[in-house]
Amino acid sequence: MEILEVLKQIFNLQTFSSTLRMATPLILAALGGIFSERSGVINIALEGMMLAGAFVAVVVSHFTASPWLGVVGAVIFSGLFALIHAVVSIEYHAKQVVSGVALNMLAAGGTVFLLNILFNTSGTSPSVNSLSYWGNFKPTVYLALVAVGITYYILFYTSFGLRVRSVGEHPHAADSLGISVKKIRYICVVTSGMLAGLGGAHMSVGTLDVFREGMTAGRGFIALAAMIFGKWHPVGALGASLLFGFFQALQIRLQGVLPIPGEFIQMIPYIFTVIALAGVIGKATPPQASGKPFKKGER
C-alpha cells in the first residue's frame, strides 16, 4: 500500500512535466556549450550568460510590456556578451577558463548593479509580463526541443557543421584546407551565448515573471555536466538534461516520503557524470582542440 502510494507520487504526468520544465534551461545551455566546445573554445561562462539573458529578458519585458521582445533581447544581448569571451579567447589567445570565470563574475555583479539603477532594488525585480502557455508548457520549452533537432542537423548534416567539428578537432588541418578557424569559432561562441541567453529568458519570463539575483543558481554548471555526460552530442545532452531534471523532480517529490536525504537522490546524476568522465560507462572524450587557442602557423 505504502509503496504503491510512493510510486503513484513519482510516476505521474506532473513528474514528467516538471522534469521537462526543469530540464529546459539545462538543454539550452548545454547546446550552447556543445557549439562552443565543438569549435574548440571552452565556455564555462554559460552560467553568467544565462543570468545576463534572464536579466535582459525581464528588463525588456518591463519596458516594452512584451515578453517575446524580452526573449529576443535576451538572445541578442547574451550573444553580444559571449562576444567578449570570443574576442578574449580567439583574438588574444587568453586562457579560456579565466575569461569564463571573469564573465560569470561580471554577470553576477553587473545584474545586481543594474537592478539597483533600473529598479532601485538589489534582490527581486518587479513582476513583468511573462510568456503565455502553449498547451501545457511555456513556448520556450518547445523551442528548446526544436533547438536540439536543429543543432543535431547543423552539426552533422551541413558543411558548416563539418567545419565546426574539424576546427574543434584539428584546427591546423582545417586551416590548411582554407577554413577560417577564427570565423567559425566566433560564430560558435556567439551562438552558445545566444542559446544560454534563451535558457535564462526561459527562467525569468517563461517559468517565472521576475528576475532574482543569482537566480540561475548554478544551472550553467549543471548544463556543462549535462554536455559532458551527453558526450558533446546534442541528443546526448538532451538525454542527460532530462535525466538531471528527472532526478530534481524526484528529489522534490520524495522529500519526507522516503527516509533518505534529498541530497542523496540529487547526487545520483553527478555520480554518473563523474563515472562517465572516468571512462567507465562509455568514454567521454572532449573535442581534441577544446581549450587550445589557435595560432596560425604554429604547431
Partner: protein, 384 residues
C-alpha cells in the same frame, strides 16, 4: 602576444570586480556624507544587510524601514547601508563602519555572526547589534525572534483554513505545505513550529490535516532559486495542498507564482509579503525587524543601550500574523503605486473571506502561546 592576452584578461577581471563591488557602494545613502559633516553630534547608524540586499521585499527592507522611521522621527539624521555580495566581505564592511565612527553598527542575518563577533571585539567603544543571531560581547545587542511561535500560529491557521472547502481556492483534501529554503537548523525551527501548529489543530479540532514539507536545497543558493521554488510548490499543490507557507527568502517568489497559476494560497514570511501576489497570499508571518531595529536606535538615543539578547515574540507585536486589513508593506506598496487600488481591494476582500471563527480561534491560540499555556517546540533548543 602573451602580454596582450594577459592584459585583456586583467581588464576583464577588474571590470568584473568593479561591477561586483559597486553594487554595494553606489547604493549607499548619497546624502549621508554631506549631512554627517553638518551635524556631527547626531547619531550615526550604519547597517550591513544580508544576502538579497535592499529591495528583497523581506528582511533587509524591514530593517531599513526601521531606520527610516528613526530618521523621520528625528532620532538619527541619516544612516548608511552596505550590501555585501558575499559572506566574505561582511567583516570588511562591518569594520569599515566601525572605523568611520558610526555609533551603532547593525549586522543583519545569521551569516554575520562570526564577522560581527570579531569586529565587535576590535571596537569595544562602538555599539553593535545583530539580527537573528546571538553574539555574547559586552557591546552587542542580539535581536532574535520566536519564529517558532509565529510559525505555530501560521500552521494552526493553515490547518483551520484547509478544512473550509466552501472557500474558493481551498480544495477538499486536508493537506497543507511548507517550502523551506536552505536545509538548516534555523529553517527547521520554522518547519517544526508550523507542523506543530497543524498537529495542535488536529488534536483540538479532531481534523486530520497533513503537512507536506520540502526544502529547495542545502546551500545558500537555495534562498535564491525561485524556479525551483515554483516546482516544489506545484508538486505540493498537485499532491493536494491548498495553502503553502514558505521560509525560503527569494525562492518564495516561485511559490507566489505557482499559487496564482493553480489558484491556491501561499503564506509569506519575515516582512509583510501580502502585496506581492494580491489575493493569493493569505497572510505573512511577519518578523517585525523594523520595530526591533527602531528599538535599538531609540535605546541608544536615550542612553540606555544594553547588550544581550532581546527576544521578540507575539507579545508587543514583535511577531505578527495579521488576518485583517492591510499590513505595513502592502500599505507602502499602495502609497508608492506598486499596487493599484483594485489590487488592494482584492487583498481586503481576501482577508474578509477568512471566517471570523477562525480569526477568533487564532487570537485565542495566540493568547495561549503568550501566556505559556501552549508549549511550542523550538528546534534549535531541542537539537543543541
Amino acid at each position: 602576444m602573451r602580454k596582450k592576452s594577459l592584459l585583456v584578461v586583467t581588464v576583464l577581471l577588474v571590470m568584473a570586480l568593479v561591477a561586483g563591488c559597486s553594487g554595494g557602494q553606489e547604493a549607499t545613502n548619497e546624502q549621508s556624507s554631506e549631512q554627517a559633516q553638518q551635524q556631527e553630534e547626531e547619531l550615526k547608524v550604519g547597517i550591513v544587510l544580508s544576502s538579497g540586499g535592499k529591495g528583497d521585499k523581506s528582511f533587509n527592507d524591514s530593517a531599513l524601514r526601521g531606520l527610516s522611521r528613526a530618521e523621520e522621527e528625528g532620532l538619527i539624521s541619516n544612516y548608511k547601508y552596505l550590501e555585501p555580495k558575499q559572506v566574505s566581505v561582511v567583516e570588511k564592511n562591518l569594520r569599515f563602519l566601525a572605523e568611520n565612527g558610526y555609533d551603532l553598527v547593525i549586522g543583519v542575518g545569521f551569516m554575520q555572526k562570526d564577522a560581527l563577533t570579531k569586529v565587535s571585539k576590535e571596537f569595544p567603544d562602538t555599539n553593535f547589534a545583530i539580527v537573528d543571531e546571538v553574539v555574547e560581547n559586552d557591546n552587542v545587542a542580539s535581536i532574535t525572534f520566536k519564529e517558532h511561535h509565529g510559525s505555530f500560529l501560521t500552521g494552526a491557521f493553515a490547518a483551520l483554513m484547509t478544512n473550509r472547502d466552501e472557500i474558493e481556492g481551498i480544495n477538499e483534501q486536508q493537506v497543507v505545505g511548507f517550502l523551506g529554503g536552505m536545509d538548516m537548523p534555523l529553517i527547521h525551527k520554522f518547519e517544526l513550529g508550523y507542523t506543530s501548529g497543524v498537529e495542535y489543530i488536529n488534536k483540538t479540532e479532531g481534523t486530520n490535516v497533513k503537512a507536506k514539507v520540502a526544502y529547495a536545497g542545502s546551500s545558500p543558493d537555495a534562498f535564491n532559486d525561485p524556479a525551483k521554488g515554483k516546482e516544489i510548490a506545484l508538486a505540493q499543490y498537485n499532491a493536494g495542498a491548498d495553502i503553502i507557507y514558505h521560509a525560503s527568502g527569494g525562492t518564495g517568489g516561485g511559490l507566489f507564482n505557482a499559487a496564482q497559476k493553480e489558484n491556491h494560497f501561499a503564506i509569506g514570511v519575515d516582512s509583510d509579503q501580502d502585496y506581492i501576489a494580491p489575493g493569493f497570499i493569505l497572510t505573512t508571518m511577519q518578523k517585525r525587524v523594523d520595530n526591533a531595529v527602531y528599538d535599538v536606535v531609540q535605546s541608544l538615543k536615550n542612553d540606555n543601550f544594553t547588550a544581550g539578547v532581546k527576544e521578540y515574540g507575539l507579545e508587543k507585536e514583535g511577531i505578527k500574523v495579521s488576518l485583517s486589513g492591510l499590513a505595513p508593506m502592502t500599505k507602502a506598496a499602495l502609497e508608492s503605486g506598486d499596487i493599484t487600488e483594485e489590487q488592494a481591494d482584492k487583498i481586503r476582500e481576501m482577508k474578509e473571506m477568512i471566517p471570523s471563527e477562525i480569526k477568533d480561534k487564532i487570537k485565542k491560540i495566540r493568547d495561549k502561546i503568550i501566556a505559556g499555556e501552549i508549549d511550542v517546540p523550538n528546534y534549535l533548543e531541542q537539537n543543541n
